[in-house]
Symmetry: none
């Protein structure tokens, strides 16, 4: 394990922080935030910056058909299954400077540490930036890792459109054309392990005074889109008793869903994050409302029971004045990470003398998809006040570097 210690020792806290801050300028929004949507010019600009640093560290750059970006540094045996790390570079519309991009930059930092230290691992190291993890421009999220891991064919997303009506297929083609100077690699692979570093995006590590969360798995998610259709009418002339008000029906539905989703143990996560009204005019009764449901829980039985009750709950609450359609857009069961990878991360965290705990991930990550193809684990670093998906998202340079040292050491350990 000398290599693990040498590699961890070559992690450069200031360099990593500087790179994150430089990347945060691309798509910067007020309050230290970032809005960098997948497959946009901003996304491409951030990738070019990353590519420059990777090439300076002796990495080979390539891109696959899903626009996943790959940085590879050879080990002793070029034919060996590679060590894989990475995350995503796209952000929420009002996102922060660390979600996703930290895992990519941490991977690059390990790559740079290999370059600087002269350590040669048994296996190649690959760093990947997965396409469209957030799902905020094109739903669903994790398109890149989903297509790469073979869970869904890339073509399945082609017709999905963003808020401006742009097809994912067209945005992807435009993006790949702009990166046609990069070598193309096949979609798919069989890495030896996958370890993803990420901010916790929750309050626990900070609250417990810990440095590292060794992630044991990811809670399951079910996403729904609910459409409530009534009839638009003149706000001044239509008596309330004769209205088919889609917004009022949606409000009743949300109340009923709140009851359905109630959880005294506070482990269930139920969120309505998007709601749109048509025609959306202040003096017109709403004719149609669309809202999303994001339901998560670590136990499959809870997801099953509550999720399956959504449609009937909404229909009953909306009542006869509105038509209701419920579509499930995403369904990911809870997942347990690989015990051997978890053990490697724990061992190196202890060797580095860091304070740590095991914990499930509340958020969804590309690791969930990769886990179907390779032994997978994740490393969490603290999030100040538990804030994420928000410009105020923050983790100190030292906390980020500690996570990267664990990542470097765990990858080195797993190389054998």
């Amino acid at each position: 394990m000398d290599k693990a210690r040498a590699l961890a020792g070559a992690v450069d806290e200031a360099r990593q922080w500087g790179r994150l801050m430089e990347l945060a300028r691309i798509g910067a929004i007020p309050g230290d935030g970032v809005n960098r949507q997948a497959l946009t010019a901003l996304d491409r600009a951030a990738r070019r910056l990353l590519i420059g640093w990777a090439e300076a560290a002796g990495a080979q750059v390539s891109v696959d058909a899903a626009a996943n970006l790959w940085l590879r540094k050879e080990g002793r045996d070029p034919a060996a299954a590679p060590l894989l790390t990475g995350s995503h570079m796209d952000s929420q519309p009002e996102g922060g400077r660390f979600d996703g991009i930290y895992g990519v930059v941490a991977g690059l930092e390990v790559l740079s540490a290999l370059h600087d230290s002269g350590v040669v691992l048994e296996r190649p190291l690959e760093v990947v930036a997965w396409t469209n993890e957030e799902g905020s421009r094109f739903a669903p999220g994790c398109m890149g890792s989903m297509a790469w891991s073979g869970q869904r064919p890339l073509e399945a997303f082609a017709e999905n459109t963003d808020a401006d009506g742009v097809r994912f297929g067209d945005a992807l083609a435009e993006h790949l054309a702009a990166e046609s100077d990069l070598p193309r690699r096949p979609l798919g692979g069989r890495p030896h392990v996958y370890i993803e570093a990420h901010i916790e995006q929750g309050p626990r590590l900070e609250a417990e005074g810990l440095d590292i969360g060794v992630v044991t798995g990811i809670q399951g998610s079910r996403w729904f889109t609910v459409t409530v259709t009534g009839a638009s009418a003149h706000a001044g002339t239509t008596p309330v008793s004769l209205r088919r008000d889609a917004l009022q029906a949606a409000v009743r539905a949300i109340q009923a869903l709140n009851t359905l989703m109630a959880d005294p143990s506070d482990r269930l996560r139920f969120t309505i994050g998007s709601l749109t009204v048509e025609p959306g005019s202040s003096n017109s009764v709403a004719g149609r409302v669309r809202f999303t449901i994001d339901l998560r829980h670590p136990e499959q039985v809870v997801l099953q029971e509550r999720g399956d009750a959504v449609e009937e709950t909404v229909r009953r609450a909306a009542g006869p004045v509105a038509e209701v359609a419920v579509a499930e857009s995403f369904n990911a069961p809870p997942l347990d990470f690989d015990p051997a990878v978890i053990a490697d991360i724990v061992a190196e965290t202890q060797t580095l003398g860091l304070r740590w705990t095991t914990m499930p991930s509340g958020a969804f990550h590309d690791a969930q998809l990769v886990a179907s193809v390779a032994p997978t684990g994740m490393i969490f670093v603290p999030s100040r006040d538990g804030i994420s998906h928000n410009p105020a998202e923050f983790t100190t340079a030292a906390q980020l570097a500690a996570g990267t040292r664990v990542l470097a050491a765990a990858l080195a350990r797993a190389a054998n």
Copy 2:
């Protein structure tokens, strides 16, 4: 009242319907709708059609500085204050074939009936087409009647622009240049009475099996914009108990407002027609929600009490997790029409043997402005399914003719 009966008897249902259908071709959109915006080439084409019919009925045509179009037929005494009727010719962007234009064509029909019957009233009859009632190309609406009645100077609107950035002042100048062949008349006047015929734009007359609504006034309106600010957070990692969810706070506020605005008599109109969520991502807790309130009622005391309670109601319901801001964007007190004009309309409706009721107007009309200058009333005819501001807007030829007969008879009665 022989003249009233003779004039009503000369109203020609088929001619009036034919004119409406011919006008509906100018700006026709799919589904029998009309999109004819104020001061456009389409507006001018419709006015030329109207002018041709008016001149054939012996009317003198003129235009004022606000581009209000006037059709005048003399009575016995040219110096007497004229009888005035009319409405507007512009439509909603996805409007119907009857809103506004019916009142203008009904006035023209009375003019034609005078011509055909040889009836000579004591006073001149003037039919007016007010400029830009809808306010959909240039805000605010009712510009023509507002400027004519002296409520606001015409110059106050000059800099208002449409969606393409065209100034109202420029559009008006272009329009007046295109109508420079028409005599110009001064802006303003003192008519003896103003009676406007209009479709109900609500479901009541049809639901109650009635022919005519004798309008007693226009209900008052108060419009508010409510902003509820919480904190955006990650939908997967943030325990529900720790959230400051702006959407859930807004839902609680809407429930509380529903209770505040409850009205067993179903006269109060309470509408939330627009609601937007930030960041509006399915997997982010809502950080901010904005929604509108449109509150209308015929009684000032009700508007005052309920409207003044909005802010406290929202604040209490939203609770400590959210900040609340309430801004009032519009406040128009209720208006009562002239009792003598109402009595004239009632008397002639009864004489004609029609089924009728008195009712307040739920919508705004030019009559609201004219009422400050002349004794004013309105006549409503049924709207099928209460639908308006929609291509599906419909009233039968017979229902429209009944309204015009009442208009003709009431004007004749008011002439003395």
